[in-house]
């Protein structure tokens, strides 16, 4: 039996109907601009220029934690009173800011103009601006001191359009048209999609190589020049569950999605790799040989955490869209009991494999009315609540143990060799609760 089949056999089959509690109201989530915090670490020659307000700059500063970089590869062009007076001037101002920025940072190869709530509301057309400015800088005019030129792209990370990780989705979507077209007779290629820490990405690339899948690309690429090609012979495998628009753009280019659960834990990662292997016609014996060592390591690592987590009840408040696959991992691989799994958006197709493996009776909620949701948390009293930084201390003060959801986005948690680390993130708050005598 292949790992994928093994996993499927343990899952509770559903009758196809999925009840989802949909809510609207105050959302306690970040906007899409926050994705810049990890995207700029991943794309090492890219700069992210938010065109927005002082609030945007303040958000990035607060979300990025301490100011470790004197000049990080992101900044905010803060719209001021006089910019609101005339749109023509606003564009001229933006040109001036970009020219100065590129003159100061000649190493930049991709500049993202990132739309914000204010820029969207005043209908500042950043796509247009990107074309206008890009045409100049490609030719190396206007202080562009490099011969390679700078690619200028625009996407919106505004809160009125994007929730937290949807900012990455919007960013990657703008990269898809920039990808070269695969030759029509190109062999089948694999595209891994979604930002992963370099160390995890390299682990997966090694595994694909060992499996014998040689033609592998990664989106986003670490450098502008390394953007892979795409076409009808591309099979893409999502590493992150929040990439609905990116997937659609890839499909418009002819790429085909490999359906798989997300690569969390021993079984999730095994099933994810198996799905890729099956697509590429890799022999099952070979597959098992390649993934066995990592899978065993992951299982051993998870066994250590099972006593701490088994039978514990957990609620996820909506945050990164990682909630469903993480709840799947905790339920099927560690025996935790998901009480409510909230997600900002539920992409049923991409999450089908994980949804099918959630225990029956799990309450799934989409969207948020934070006050009502907190009422439910207080009524449910789960052992652990996964929530944002604004809510964690207040819930702890009410006697409810919490896990900051942002750590799940910023830390390496995918794949075999991070399975134990991922379990540790959930076990630590419970262990701490038990060790403190204060």
């Amino acid at each position: 039996m292949s790992p994928a089949q093994a996993l499927a056999a343990t899952a509770t089959p559903r009758d196809g109907t999925l009840e989802v509690l949909r809510e609207r109201g105050q959302r306690e989530v970040f906007c899409g601009l926050t994705g810049i915090v990890w995207l700029h670490r991943k794309m090492q020659d890219a700069f992210f220029l938010v065109v927005g307000s002082r609030t945007c700059a303040h958000l990035l500063q607060s979300a990025a934690g301490v100011m470790i970089f004197a000049e990080p590869r992101f900044a905010t062009a803060i719209i001021e009173e006089r910019d609101l007076a005339g749109m023509a001037d606003c564009h001229a101002e933006l040109d001036r800011v970009v020219d100065r920025l590129l003159a100061r940072r000649p190493e930049i190869r991709t500049l993202f103009l990132v739309g914000s709530c204010p820029s969207e509301v005043i209908k500042l057309d950043l796509a247009n601006a990107a074309q206008r400015i890009g045409a100049r800088h490609l030719k190396g005019e206007n202080g562009a001191s490099n011969s390679e030129g700078v690619r200028i792209l625009a996407y919106s990370g505004s809160g009125i359009e994007t929730t937290f990780t949807e900012g990455e989705d919007a960013c990657l979507t703008t990269l898809v048209p920039e990808m070269a077209a695969e030759m029509p007779d190109a062999p089948l290629s694999l595209l891994m999609v979604g930002t992963l820490p370099d160390i995890v990405e390299d682990q997966f690339l090694r595994l694909f190589a060992e499996l014998g899948i040689t033609n592998v690309g990664v989106l986003p690429a670490r450098r502008a020049g390394a953007l892979p090609a795409v076409g009808p012979n591309t099979r893409y495998l999502l590493a992150q569950p929040f990439l609905g628009e990116t997937a659609r753009a890839l499909e418009d280019r002819g790429a085909v999605r490999i359906d798989a659960p997300f690569p969390f834990g021993a079984d999730g990662t095994a099933a994810w790799l198996s799905a890729a292997a099956a697509t590429f016609g890799i022999d099952e014996m070979h597959l098992n040989r390649v993934i066995a060592p990592g899978r065993e390591r992951a299982k051993r690592a998870l066994e250590r955490y099972r006593p701490a987590l088994e039978g514990k009840r957990i609620t996820f408040l909506p945050d990164s869209q990682l909630e469903i696959p993480l709840a799947r991992f905790l339920a099927t691989e560690l025996g935790m009991i998901p009480v409510e799994v909230g997600t900002p958006y539920l992409h049923r197709a991409h999450l089908a494999a994980d949804l099918a493996r959630l225990p029956e009776g799990t309450r799934i909620s989409e969207g948020q009315d934070v006050e009502r949701q907190l009422d439910r948390v207080r009524a449910d009293r789960p052992d652990l609540t996964v929530c944002g930084l604004g809510l964690a201390n207040p819930l702890e003060a009410e006697g409810l143990s919490t896990k900051w959801s942002i750590e799940l986005v910023f830390s390496p948690v995918h794949g075999f060799d991070q399975a134990g680390d991922l379990a540790e993130l959930f076990a630590r708050p419970l262990r701490r609760r038990d060790v403190l005598r204060i």
């Binding site: 992101f74 204010p118 930084l389 964690a392 207040p394």
Partner: protein, 529 residues
């Protein structure tokens, strides 16, 4: 458009949140898109508050814009009032809602809500956080103060005072209040109310019952104090008691205004800072070059302490809040300096590098700058960081505040005796030059290793040196002879940077091609104090 990387102040509605969060019984309804809730974490994480800020965000989305964001606002108002039952409701807009012009004030006024509604007009594209806090506090006082309430006749009672300005997320506000209350108690003066921190709308209603006001944080409290002076004829004490001298001046002014005896408060035996500063170990502090940057009030106070109470040389002074730049300009003139008024941290970094200070007193931004430059630093002002909310009592104001300041500023420097020993043993073969300055807690890299640590993968936290890491003096770039370079290495690390810079500057001015042993000592003579 202004290009900003890191900002000293948030938008004005964050200032309003600092006031609302500081108070009791107030709720703030903020017309804002999804994402503006990030501001909650400033309070729950940095200040470790155990309750969410009393703020409801209407959370409109793009699809609401063409339809009815106004009814979204009214529904949110109704729900918030029902759930939280505030004694007063603040209503306002964040930067995006300001653009869609829904008029929160008018919408709320039409709802007949069962509590007073205080509309806030905070222009996001012109103003910043401190201004927003001051304006919010002023509006609260204006709307809620009962103008018929006046102080009771003075006979047979102690004088009463209001303490104005402390707010949530303030730099040591919590502890300053406790220390100032102690001083007032020694003076025999009662505190009528502290606001906004800890005050309820009902408390604010009675604000006129105090004899006078003390503005501890002018950035937040002065606007309201001016209105109170005009409306209630409540005199205002504006001397901020940070430092021993300022505390004495504060006590004398307050005592004179209240008609009480200042002696007991002035003779407070817990005031240790003056002796700590006069004692011989502190001799080495003389003339240390300090660069000071922060909010105007804290920067000016720090400059006075540095100059008068510690014998430092102030080599740079500035503030990020233009509204109060006047005070900084006056102070800078006193020290013969060009004031640095800017909210661009790159400009501040350049100014610090150019001034080559031995100590930086600044905000968390300057702490990072100083770390990159390998200069010791102490934090004196907002913007704040989780470290600025210590568990222990740690005020800046009053005599205890001066004690705290002495410790906080002097500890990052090399101890007097330690410096003496270092000089004595600098040629000792066991004294490893590569060890680096122990007092910098490893922030300065060992000699000869440029701190070219790789940038962290996806780790947002942690203090990691990246650009322009503390440059150890590596001689040899500017035509240093071997002999001169060897001599340079014998100079203790904490003055070596200055020696190198001075020598190179001297060599440049003299038009010398190579720096010899002679040049080194000629330069030393040239720059001798």
């Amino acid at each position: 458009m202004q290009l900003a990387v890191w900002t000293y102040e948030g938008p004005p509605h964050v200032g309003a949140m600092r006031v609302a969060t500081a108070m009791r019984g107030v709720h703030y309804l903020l017309h804002a898109p999804q994402g503006d809730t990030y501001a909650d974490l400033l309070f729950t994480m940095i200040e470790r508050r155990s309750a969410r800020p009393p703020v409801t965000y209407t959370t409109f989305q793009a699809r609401d814009l063409g339809k009815d964001t106004a009814s979204l606002f009214q529904n949110a108002a109704r729900d918030a009032v029902e759930r939280f039952q505030p004694q007063a409701l603040l209503v306002g807009a964040s930067c995006t809602a300001e653009l869609i012009q829904d008029d929160p004030a008018g919408l709320a006024a039409n709802m007949n809500l069962p509590c007073p509604v205080i509309p806030l007009e905070l222009p996001s594209y012109q103003r910043k956080e401190n201004w927003g806090a001051a304006e919010t506090f002023y509006q609260i006082v204006r709307h809620l103060a009962d103008t018929s309430i006046r102080p009771a006749p003075r006979e047979g009672r102690r004088p009463r005072v209001n303490l104005l300005g402390p707010a949530a997320l303030g730099f040591r506000h919590r502890d300053d209040i406790r220390e100032v209350r102690r001083i007032l108690d020694l003076l025999g003066i009662d505190v009528h109310l502290v606001a906004p921190l800890g005050a309820s709308p009902e408390d604010i209603r009675t604000i006129g019952a105090a004899d006078f006001n003390i503005v501890l944080y002018p950035e937040i409290g002065d606007e309201a104090a001016r209105w109170l002076d005009k409306t209630f004829a409540q005199p205002v004490i504006r001397t901020v008691p940070i430092g021993v001298g300022a505390t004495r001046a504060f006590i004398n002014e307050v005592a004179a205004l209240a008609g009480v005896d200042p002696t007991l408060a002035l003779d407070d035996p817990s005031s240790r800072m003056p002796w700590w500063s006069r004692s011989v170990d502190s001799t080495y502090l003389t003339g240390k070059r300090v660069f000071i940057f922060g909010d105007a009030t804290h920067a000016v106070a720090a400059a006075r302490i540095a100059h008068e109470e510690l014998g430092f040389t102030v080599c740079g002074l500035g503030c990020y809040n233009r509204e109060f730049a006047r005070d900084v300009r006056i102070a800078a003139k006193e020290y013969g300096l060009e004031p640095l008024i800017t909210d661009d941290h790159l400009t501040v970094e350049e100014a610090i590098a150019a001034a080559a200070p031995e100590l930086v007193l600044g905000t968390q931004m300057e702490r990072h700058i100083a770390k990159r430059l390998g200069v010791p630093c102490a934090v004196i002002s907002s913007p704040v960081h989780v470290q600025d909310f210590p568990a222990r009592f740690s005020p800046q104001m009053g005599f205890e505040g001066a004690n705290v300041i002495f410790d906080t500023w002097v500890h990052p420097l090399v101890m007097g005796l330690e410096e003496h020993l270092l000089t004595m043993f600098r040629d000792d073969f066991e004294f490893s030059d590569a060890a680096g300055p122990s007092h910098l807690h490893g922030s300065a890299p060992a000699h000869g290793q440029a701190a070219a640590k790789p940038e962290p993968a996806l780790a947002p936290a942690g203090d990691i040196l990246v650009k322009e890491a503390a440059a150890p003096v590596a001689a040899g770039e500017l035509g240093w002879t071997d002999e001169a370079e060897r001599e340079l290495r014998k100079i203790p690390f904490f003055v070596r940077g200055k020696a190198k810079r001075n020598t190179e500057k001297y060599a440049g001015e003299m038009g010398l091609a190579a720096i010899t042993l002679e040049t080194l000592y000629d330069a030393k003579a040239h720059y001798a104090r």
